[in-house]
């Protein structure tokens, strides 16, 4: 591939403080793993004039557990997260999602903040983070603010971050006693972009859905929670007919498009099939129904 990269000004930050200082000037585009950005530049989708390289920011690469929450540095490489025992144990949905992302080579350079900030409707780390009600910490030279991830995504490649800010950390509450299920439907079994991805977490107490969380990727302009379906189920008896009825309502939560990967019609069908599978399995997990 020999596309001509447009010319740009380049700076490399050695630490977070320096990075935020540069960002203060405005108009700097952050370069992390570059696995989205550089490709975008090669096909002319983006042509930033100024690039700030944050690959050296080791201080953004960590995973910490504290007070029932996990704190993940935005610069963490996907492969590091995949190999992290805490992530695997406490955030099984995120771990499963990353397992199915890209390839070993890409995961070794790609960062989690990059995946979120790129805000593709197909960003695979998004559905799990939406399920966990994760929050993102956005930092600038004048301080930090925290946003729920559901408010962070605004649309295809649009987020609530400003050009002065950097995604420093992701705060992820863990879920205890939940059934957790993740499925990435791609066009082959590895190294592929999602046609539909689904993450589900639920709890059933005394035969009643006490909590249901559903997040979906690639079926709307941004990764979404299927609140309608969730609300249809919460407080209801966990049985096949309730599930089938509720799943039909997913049409109110998603708005898939037809593209080269699949038709909207197929995405609808697949979403419903996946949700039913997850919910039936959840029901079984808690000892209910025959599925």
């Amino acid at each position: 591939m020999y596309y001509k990269l447009p010319e740009f000004e380049y700076k490399r930050a050695e630490n977070l403080h320096q990075a935020l200082d540069v960002l203060k000037e405005g108009d700097w585009k952050i370069l992390a793993g570059g696995t989205d950005l550089i490709l975008d530049m090669k096909i002319g989708r983006q042509s930033p004039k100024k690039i700030l390289d944050i690959t050296r920011l080791g201080e953004l690469r960590y995973v910490r557990a504290y007070n029932g929450k996990m704190f993940i540095g935005g610069g963490s490489r996907l492969q590091e997260l995949l190999e992290n025992a805490l992530v695997k144990e406490k955030l099984p949905l995120l771990s499963s999602a990353i397992y199915e992302m890209a390839s070993w080579q890409i995961r070794n350079v790609a960062t989690i903040a990059g995946n979120i900030c790129n805000a593709s409707p197909a960003a695979d780390s998004a559905p799990p983070l939406l399920i966990y009600d994760a929050k993102v910490k956005l930092s600038s030279s004048s301080g930090s603010r925290t946003l729920p991830i559901s408010e962070f995504f605004l649309g295809p490649r649009k987020t609530a971050i400003s050009s002065y800010e950097l995604l420093e950390e992701i705060e992820v509450p863990t879920l205890d006693g939940y059934f957790q299920w993740y499925y990435k439907l791609g066009r082959r079994h590895a190294f592929t972009l999602s046609v539909v991805s689904a993450a589900v977490a639920l709890k059933i107490e005394n035969g009643i859905f006490s909590d249901v969380r559903i997040a979906l990727g690639s079926v709307a302009p941004k990764p979404v929670r299927a609140y309608t379906v969730e609300n249809e189920l919460k407080g209801k008896e966990a049985n096949v007919s309730e599930i089938e009825r509720a799943v039909e309502k997913v049409a109110e939560d998603i708005s898939p498009i037809s593209d080269v990967r699949a038709s909207a019609e197929y995405r609808f069908k697949a979403t419903k099939a996946l949700l039913k599978e997850a919910l039936f399995k959840g029901m079984k997990y808690f000892g209910g129904g025959s599925g």
Partner: protein
């Protein structure tokens, strides 16, 4: 040596029963280099002072070129020149079957992606930038994209001079199909569709051209036939072939794509080197490769078959339409092969087959592993299952009732005198797969996940067709120290012919240790060995070195007999030891024998040549001698279908091959595995989507989906039926393409079995599966 002497000697080796390297799982010469990543491919030969070439390609499916303006490109610092059709000193004509294709578009473009000019610059960035700045002014013309529509229209012509969009027609007329159908108990008719497929070789097209003294050129060319590259370059430059030297490095995959595009890529590098007198480098990006180079043809095949109550085939009537895109390229040959193989490996008394190769304003079609055969075998093999179902016969039984056996006659009226092992292959594969039990068990599966098992059987004529001359040649030279240099035109593109089977053949015949044999391959310095295509790299490609070695061995036997005081028939040479059979105490080392040859005036060089005897073919009736020999392949495949998501998982396949003597079982196993997985791509995921303007939308590996190792099923150890071919080295036929040919049929038949609906359209995407299940 007279040709009868030669045939007598070849027969002697053909009947050999004991081998010391042939048939053994020996390691190939390039294993370590490749495993360590030190093997050099085209790109690795790039050097900084080479000029870089970038293609400017058409943005229109059909348009007249009004002017080409490079005034903006000139402003780029490293820019040197923009070369167009006008700069070509020789002929701007590179069509392989019909002279319809320019190297660089002249006056008109016929597909989005067609090369229009070559931007030359001192470095990559400048070449890229300048290529973006070349402005081509077009006058857009009406265009046709659908082959069925193009067939009927004469108002929009891809090539005006032809007066029609039908580039080529083929036919077979055997017996009386009407009579055949009237005698049939069941007649079934279906229309099958298959999609374009890209080779997606890891290494995209590239070439280096270096001007030498005396106006000569040396070209490094990842192409499958060095002598064809030489010929094309010589035509484009108007230079004698002998002033062009072609060397083919290791290819990072060929699959037929570099048989077509390799010479053209080199012609571009050579053209610039010739005009600038400087070394040049061209390499396609992946997107460029997909946009520019020919694909496996998309097809529409209407297939009608009839059988009697017992399941014996009575007649077939087939219409094959190939979408050849903008240029005929090898399309007529591809169509020809599809037509002659339309029956599948079965006896069919009455056959009528019509083939149409149709121009459209899309990327053109070309050679791809299987060469027109996978799609038609998919149609033929689906029909067998449909007939079996209608007749209430097991799919295995109906095949065995009709299968070709020695002495059988093909639909072109060719009698297959020997080397027809397909029946044994099918029986052995069915047994190993547990066909009967599984077929029964899976038939009653219900619920979301359903399994299916399907058979695919295929035949494939080896090497070129009809009376098209075919030969093999190669030089073997024994050096004074006893090591052996072998010179052939066959290339190494992953399959290992020159680095494995050629060495084994030479070593076996001369009796030298394998590690003393070194093959210099893929160069126009070697005698023209023909192309490395059509599964001929070993079965035909090695006949030259086989014959050369046989001749040398005769000389050495005579010399050894004198030295050991016995007669030539009494000499054995095995693994570097020369011995008398009668008196094993009489022996000498190989190296001493070679030294004696040098001192006693026995020539140690031999150039082997063999011209394949062929028969006549009547194009009017499509009857006669079609191929010198056929290889046969069976795959029995198991799948699991998720009936809610429509996804297909290939679980396991059982391959069996009848390809004559297997020179190296490990290499053959590798070819079978790779070909099967490539066939899986054709069957399940690979498909190009075209825009309204005929531009490929998914010209990248994000959205053109080939299988990964995670998708590959378990592939059982292949069954070998060694039905020796009389002219092949030790009786070897061809292997390279084979497993790809029945793979799609076996998968489609398995999916049809699993879901109880007939698959007629490849690839079998989840959406298509759901539509079938919903009865749409």
């Amino acid at each position: 040596m007279s040709s009868t002497d030669l045939e007598r000697l070849m027969n002697k080796w053909l009947s050999a029963q004991e081998f010391y390297v042939v048939g053994k799982k020996v390691e190939r010469a390039d294993t370590i280099e490749k495993a360590l990543g030190i093997a050099r491919y085209m790109e690795d030969y790039y050097m900084r002072d080479m000029l870089v070439i970038k293609q400017v390609t058409s943005k229109y499916p059909h348009a007249r070129i009004l002017s080409i303006d490079d005034s903006q490109a000139k402003k780029v610092k490293g820019f040197l020149m923009n070369i167009t059709a006008k700069n070509i000193p020789g002929e701007n004509q590179v069509g392989y079957s019909i002279p319809d294709q320019p190297l660089l578009a002249d006056k008109k473009v016929r597909y989005v992606g067609e090369p229009v000019s070559l931007v030359v610059a001192s470095d990559f960035d400048s070449a890229l930038e300048a290529a973006q700045l070349v402005k081509v002014n077009y006058d857009p013309l009406p265009y046709v994209l659908d082959p069925l529509e193009a067939m009927k229209r004469n108002d929009v012509l891809v090539h005006e001079e032809t007066g029609s969009n039908i580039a080529f027609r083929t036919k077979v007329r055997k017996g009386d199909v009407e009579k055949g159908f009237s005698e049939s108990h069941v007649v079934v008719e279906n229309t099958y569709r298959t999609s374009h497929q890209d080779h997606i070789y890891l290494e995209t097209e590239a070439s280096i051209a270096i001007p030498n003294l005396e106006g000569k050129l040396t070209i490094l060319s990842p192409s499958q036939y060095p002598h064809l590259t030489q010929k094309i370059v010589s035509r484009v430059l108007g230079l004698p072939a002998s002033s062009i030297r072609v060397v083919v490095p290791y290819l990072g995959g060929g699959f037929g794509g570099k048989d077509d595009q390799g010479p053209l890529t080199s012609a571009k590098a050579a053209l610039v080197a010739y005009l600038t007198k400087r070394p040049t480098f061209i390499e396609y990006s992946r997107e460029e490769s997909i946009a520019v180079h020919p694909k496996r043809e998309a097809t529409v095949i209407r297939y009608k078959s009839g059988a009697d109550a017992e399941g014996k085939l009575k007649a077939i009537e087939v219409e094959i339409v190939h979408d050849t895109g903008a240029y005929a390229n090898r399309g007529p040959f591809i169509l020809w092969r599809a037509t002659m193989h339309a029956s599948g490996p079965y006896v069919v008394p009455n056959a009528k087959v019509d083939g149409y190769c149709i121009y459209t304003n899309k990327v053109y079609q070309g050679s791809f592993r299987g060469f027109g055969n996978p799609s038609v075998q998919f149609a033929a093999e689906s029909q067998m299952d449909v007939l079996a179902e209608k007749l209430g016969i097991d799919p295995l039984e109906i095949r065995l009732k009709n299968i070709l056996t020695p002495g059988a006659t093909t639909i072109t009226g060719q009698v297959l005198d020997s080397s027809v092992g397909v029946k044994e292959a099918l029986e052995a594969a069915a047994l190993k797969a547990g066909w009967k039990e599984k077929r029964k068990a899976y038939s009653s599966m219900e619920g979301r996940f359903r399994k299916g098992i399907g058979i695919g059987v295929a035949w494939h004529g080896i090497s070129t067709s009809r009376g098209v001359p075919d030969w093999s040649a190669g030089t073997v030279k024994i050096e004074l120290d006893g090591s052996v240099s072998v010179l052939v035109g066959i290339v190494e593109m992953g399959q290992g012919s020159p680095t494995s089977s050629h060495r084994q053949i030479v070593a076996e015949i001369l009796g030298v240790p394998l590690d003393l044999v070194h093959v210099y391959f893929g160069t126009s310095d070697a005698p023209d060995t023909g192309a490395t295509h059509a599964s001929r790299g070993t079965g035909v490609g090695a006949i030259g070195v086989y014959v050369a070695s046989i001749e040398l061995r005769e000389r050495l036997n005579s010399l050894a007999a004198k030295l050991l005081n016995t007669d030539p028939e009494d000499i054995t040479i095995v693994d570097g030891v020369v011995r008398s059979k009668k008196d094993p105490s009489k022996s000498m080392p190989w190296k001493d024998l070679v030294k004696s040859a040098y001192s006693k005036g026995v020539s140690t060089t031999s150039s082997g040549y063999f011209f394949l005897p062929k028969g006549r073919f009547d194009d009017e009736m499509g009857q006669g001698f079609a191929y010198i020999s056929y290889s046969y392949m069976v795959t029995i495949t198991e799948v699991e279908v998720d009936t809610e998501l429509g996804t297909v998982k290939v679980l396991k396949t059982y391959p069996a091959i009848a390809a004559g003597k297997i020179i190296n079982p490990v290499q053959v196993e590798g070819q079978i595995e790779g070909a099967f997985v490539q066939g899986m791509g054709l069957a399940l995921t690979e498909e190009f989507k075209f825009s309204e303007k005929g531009e490929i939308i998914n010209k990248d590996l994000t959205d053109y989906v080939i299988p990964t190792s995670m998708d590959a099923p378990e592939i059982a150890e292949p069954i070998f039926i060694e039905d020796r071919f009389k002219y092949g080295p030790f009786g070897a036929k061809g292997v390279g393409e084979m497993a790809l040919i029945p793979a799609p049929s076996s998968i489609a038949n398995a999916v049809s079995h699993a879901i109880g609906k007939r698959v007629t359209h490849l690839p079998i995407t989840p959406e298509r599966v759901l539509k079938l299940l919903e009865g749409r």
